[in-house]
């Protein structure tokens, strides 16, 4: 695989790890604690912030060429995986209203693509600045 494809794969892997870590937090909160405790509400924005930029930063850091587009791809595909995974795992059941699900999927993919593209630009800049 090319360096760019590798960096996209690494970014996507990181995105999936963050999604699954958030799912673990969700399970821990609802099954062990019996309801969402305060650390769940605090953990949510932290994972959201991480998912918004960290996979993109990783992509931009690993490969400067076409960093913005690679970051957008990682964010877009990652956003799709996130919404579909959370739907399947019942974290955010959307199947009851299919129209809403479609809109949510598109918006999640677009916003995630936007923030991760910015993350990729930042990753490329930080990598250049380090050298």
């Amino acid at each position: 695989m090319s360096q760019r494809a590798n960096s996209i794969a690494a970014g996507l892997g990181l995105y999936v790890v963050l999604v699954m870590a958030f799912y673990a937090l969700h399970r821990l909160a609802f099954e062990l604690a019996g309801g969402p405790p305060i650390w769940y509400w605090l953990g949510w924005p932290m994972f959201d912030a991480a998912k918004a930029v960290v996979p993109g930063v990783a992509v931009g850091w690993l490969c400067r060429a076409g960093a913005l587009r690679s970051g957008a791809i990682v964010g877009g595909v990652g956003g799709l995986i996130e919404v579909l995974t959370f739907d399947v795992l019942n974290v955010m059941p959307l199947a009851e209203s299919p129209g809403r699900m479609t809109v949510e999927i598109v918006v999640a993919a677009l916003t995630s693509a936007f923030t991760n593209a910015a993350g990729a630009a930042a990753g490329a800049f930080l990598h250049d600045a380090k050298q």
Partner: protein, 140 residues
């Protein structure tokens, strides 16, 4: 004011505009429909959230390269504090039972400021990268 201070002020101004725009969406959704929130509300909220996460920082980084990451973090941190205070004052956060848990409010403020500082610092680095890329393309 120095160029860096101007960039931070511009980033903060942009953050406040985005906060007020998301408040307008909130008012429009709950003031007009009065019932369960419409789909465009959650869509608009997500878009504003994504914008608030990186755009003010990117503006700060675009306007001033020096100490861009720190400037972005300052914009995000202070912007997050402004956002929380504004939403609390304007009743956007009424659904959260802060009165029952005053400690939660402090923790929420700290987490919001930290996460916003983090994403906007990344946004600022992106702003510098895009500015540099644009400059080098113009030179070429």
């Amino acid at each position: 004011m120095s160029r860096r201070a101007n960039a931070i002020a511009a980033g903060l101004g942009l953050y406040v505009v985005l906060v007020m725009a998301s408040y307008a969406v909130h008012r429009l959704a709950f003031g007009i429909t009065g019932g369960p929130y419409p789909i465009w509300y959650s869509v608009g909220w997500e878009i504003f959230d994504a914008a608030k996460a990186v755009v003010p920082g990117a503006a700060a980084g675009w306007l001033c390269r020096t100490g861009a990451v720190r400037s972005g973090a300052i914009v995000g941190g202070i912007g997050g504090l402004i956002q929380f205070s504004a939403f609390l004052t304007l009743g956007v956060l009424n659904v959260i039972p802060f009165s029952g848990a005053p400690g939660r409010m402090i923790l929420d403020i700290v987490v919001l400021a930290l996460t916003s500082a983090f994403t906007n610092a990344i946004g600022a680095a992106a702003g510098v990268f895009l500015h540099d890329s644009g400059s080098s393309m113009q030179r070429a």
